[in-house]
């Protein structure tokens, strides 16, 4: 991805300039799109599982879904969409070589991401206080409705894996900010901003599917 020469490295130097900068940019972008395809397939397995269990336990899924807080989930959806807007603005700023604006925009994105995680934390802790979590012996007891267990198992797996992606995305964008602080980007080189933003849009997009599926449809 990066093509900074490391001339001082005595151990097997990388094939510096093994492709020109346009090819490197296209390759990085293509690589990220492929990676996003793998992410969609990763969540695809969970979506399949959800479809199967919703079909099996339609009534119970409907009731279990009512335990989720639509307002918190809805707020989080808006927070993520705003964060994605600023990620897109960061790409635009990078293309114009405005490194300071890249830092500003991506900082807002990361602040939104933190907000998302905080709201998620309150949601999880309210579920915890109601005993709706898998390690709770009462929840695991045979008397408890099995369908509720399936719903919450999938709820935690899907939102948990998504939250993990939010954290990874924050680290990725943090790295991009550190590059922008060193004034690395210009109209000719802004690959990390673009691939970082692409990844962030996917994180946003997955949530846009998770929210109606878990909170609204049930």
């Amino acid at each position: 991805m990066s093509h900074h020469a490391e001339v001082t490295d005595p151990q097997g130097p990388p094939h510096v300039h093994h492709m020109d900068s346009t090819t490197a940019y296209q390759a990085a972008k293509f690589g990220m799109w492929l990676f996003l395809a793998t992410e969609i397939l990763l969540f695809g397995g969970l979506f399949c599982a959800f479809a199967l269990f919703r079909w099996t336990y339609l009534e119970e899924f409907h009731h279990a879904s009512k335990h989720l807080n639509v307002w918190m989930g809805g707020t989080n959806t808006i927070v993520l969409i705003i964060s994605s807007y600023f990620a897109a603005m960061a790409v635009d700023a990078a293309q114009h070589g405005d490194n300071k604006k890249v830092v500003r925009n991506l900082t807002v994105t990361i602040i939104c991401a933190c907000g998302f995680l905080v709201i998620k934390y309150f949601e999880y802790s309210s579920k915890y206080h109601h005993g709706l979590f898998p390690l709770n012996p009462e929840f695991n007891s045979p008397e408890f409705n099995k369908a509720y267990q399936s719903f919450f198992a999938l709820y935690y797996c899907m939102t948990g894996l998504h939250a993990l992606h939010v954290i990874i995305g924050m680290c990725l964008l943090g790295w991009v900010i550190s590059l922008a602080r060193k004034n690395r980007f210009s109209g000719r080189y802004y690959t990390p901003v673009e691939v970082g933003a692409l990844y962030w849009h996917l994180v946003d997009l997955i949530w846009i599917y998770l929210f109606p599926l878990l909170y609204l449809v049930g």
Partner: protein, 541 residues
């Protein structure tokens, strides 16, 4: 530009930098390919020894005293899991693919050299996890079927975790290769001029990228289910064990094409060179790879005919499975047509390639038996299945890989191995392999179930023959690899740039290649297989 060292020897990728750190930190695709080869074969022999221990146990009816039935269950699980996840899935792409793809398309390296090294270390991390898992061996079989995998020992978490991590390595390698083949072809290297190994590697990489995430999430859910007690797969908790099988085979059937497609690619490279004839039906062979990759995504439930899926879907999956035979047969016919009236040289790589065609025909034909619904009810979970997939996996993928290693060994090491030793090893492998698995077809037809520790005495003679064959087979692999390893380390006979008179790009550079692969970026003006055709331009010089 190449420079001369003090000894007057030309610099190449092996001696340009020295010392252990120059390997550990290397970003050179050729060195990473060598590192994969060495690591992979350590696991190949480990899992091979497990197989021989099992065969020893099965040599005679009744317990041999060497192991308990539980240990036998652990052995077949470890044999399968290590062979599949640590050896044959990374297999040809990680070893020969890494070494050859940039060379064959005229590039200096893969698109993302750092990512390439990262894939290697992720592989090593997965391998270490699998080795730690040996402390509490798994006995589920390599398929980790639920609900048994939720109830049995704790090793399952580590072993499936290892498979999950190894999946990452596989995805990153595949992603790297797809981008490399799209973006880094030398000037004039159009898609229709690409060597067929590249087409096969491309189709393989696409499967690696698109199928692996699904098994990733499946194993992730299994681990969460075991550690947190949630109910996704366990019917006691409201889960569905068949869901596990669907998600598992959605990856693990395409994965057999990850194993076999690159082997097809190797055979398509070897046969034209050793027949000195253009490949017959280039486009058909190239597109057959893509067709196999595509159809391979829609056949997974043929592993589940007896798992309670509906008759309609069973019929659907049966028909689609038959369809895989068409592009596969296209390849076989084209290889044989390429050899027709060629100037055939029976060097070791060609011997392996010819034996591959023979073995793979048996493998494919028996696959058709198993795809047939009525027949599968009888053959399901018998030794017939075991023999069938060893014909594809060992007789196909492993022999293809060994063929490729012999073919490109002069390029990788710059040296020539002992042809006599290599041929003796070939005979041991070919005879030993067939002697191992032909009896297993017969055993399966008589109803011998797979994964059993013991059997009735009437099966003894066939099991005995199978065990003798297995030991000959193992000896053959040991001899073949020792021959190559010895030559690489101590060999004296130098190989020229192009000992087999191949027209492919990788043979036009030094053996071993220089660090940057080519002194000047090659310009391609013709396809790779113009043997005996008038030269159109300065394509390969």
């Amino acid at each position: 530009m190449s420079t001369a060292t003090a000894t007057g020897e030309k610099k190449n990728y092996l001696n340009e930098h020295t010392g252990i750190w120059s390997w550990i930190y290397t970003l050179d695709h050729k060195r990473i390919g060598i590192m994969y080869t060495v690591t992979l074969f350590m696991f190949f022999f480990t899992a091979g020894i497990f197989a021989l221990l099992m065969r020893y146990e099965l040599m005679h009816a009744g317990p041999s005293g060497l192991m308990t039935p539980d240990q036998y269950n652990q052995l077949f699980t470890l044999h399968g899991a290590i062979m599949v996840f640590l050896f044959i899935v990374p297999g040809i792409p990680a070893t020969l693919g890494n070494f050859l793809i940039p060379l064959m398309i005229g590039a200096k390296d893969v698109a993302f050299p750092r990512l390439n090294l990262l894939s290697y270390y992720i592989y090593v991390a997965g391998a270490i996890m699998a080795l730690v898992a040996l402390s509490s061996p798994v006995d589920t079989g390599w398929t980790f079927y639920t609900p048994y995998s939720i109830q049995t020992g704790q090793g399952v978490v580590l072993m499936t975790g290892a498979a999950f991590v190894l999946g990452f390595s596989s995805i990153l390698t595949g992603l790297n290769f797809v981008v490399t083949i799209h973006k880094l072809r030398a000037p004039g290297m159009t898609w229709m001029r690409l060597p067929l190994f590249i087409w096969a590697a491309y189709a393989t990489a696409a499967i690696q990228v698109l199928a692996t995430p699904v098994v990733g999430i499946n194993l992730f859910l299994l681990i969460i289910e075991r550690t947190m007690g949630i109910g996704i797969f366990d019917p006691k908790l409201g889960g569905d064990p068949v869901l596990f099988q669907h998600l598992f085979w959605f990856y693990s059937h395409p994965v057999v094409y990850i194993m076999i497609l690159p082997a097809f690619g190797i055979i398509a490279e070897i046969i034209p060179v050793f027949s000195q004839k253009p490949i017959f039906g280039y486009k058909a062979v190239a597109f057959a790879s893509l067709a196999i990759a595509l159809i391979g995504f829609f056949v997974w439930a043929h592993h589940m005919f007896l798992s309670g899926i509906s008759d309609t879907s069973a019929a659907f999956f049966s028909i689609i499975t038959f369809a895989v035979a068409i592009p596969t047969a296209v390849k076989v016919f084209n290889w044989v047509s390429t050899m027709y009236r060629g100037s055939i040289r029976l060097d070791t790589p060609m011997l392996y390639a010819i034996s591959f065609i023979f073995i793979f025909m048996v493998a494919g034909t028996t696959g058709i038996y198993l795809a047939t619904l009525g027949v599968d009810i009888f053959y399901h979970d018998t030794y017939f299945v075991v023999a069938h997939f060893h014909y594809t996996m060992q007789g196909g993928a492993v022999i293809g890989m060994i063929a490729g290693l012999h073919f490109w060994f002069p390029k990788m090491s710059g040296k020539m191995y002992s042809e006599t030793t290599a041929k003796i090893a070939f005979i041991l492998i070919f005879v030993g392999f067939n002697m191992t698995f032909v009896p297993q077809f017969v055993l399966g037809m008589h109803g011998m179930p797979r994964r059993y520790f013991d059997y009735p005495p009437e099966f003894e003679s066939l099991h005995f023959a199978s065990t003798i064959g297995a030991f000959a087979n193992g000896l053959g692999y040991a001899l073949a690899i020792l021959n190559l390893a010895y030559t690489a380390l101590f060999g004296k006979t130098k190989a020229g740039r192009n000992p087999y008179n191949s027209l492919s790009l990788e043979w036009q550079t030094d053996s071993p290649p220089i660090h940057d692969n080519f002194e000047v970026t090659p310009i391609v003006t013709d396809w790779t297989y113009g043997y005996g055709e008038p030269i159109k331009g300065q394509s390969h010089h």
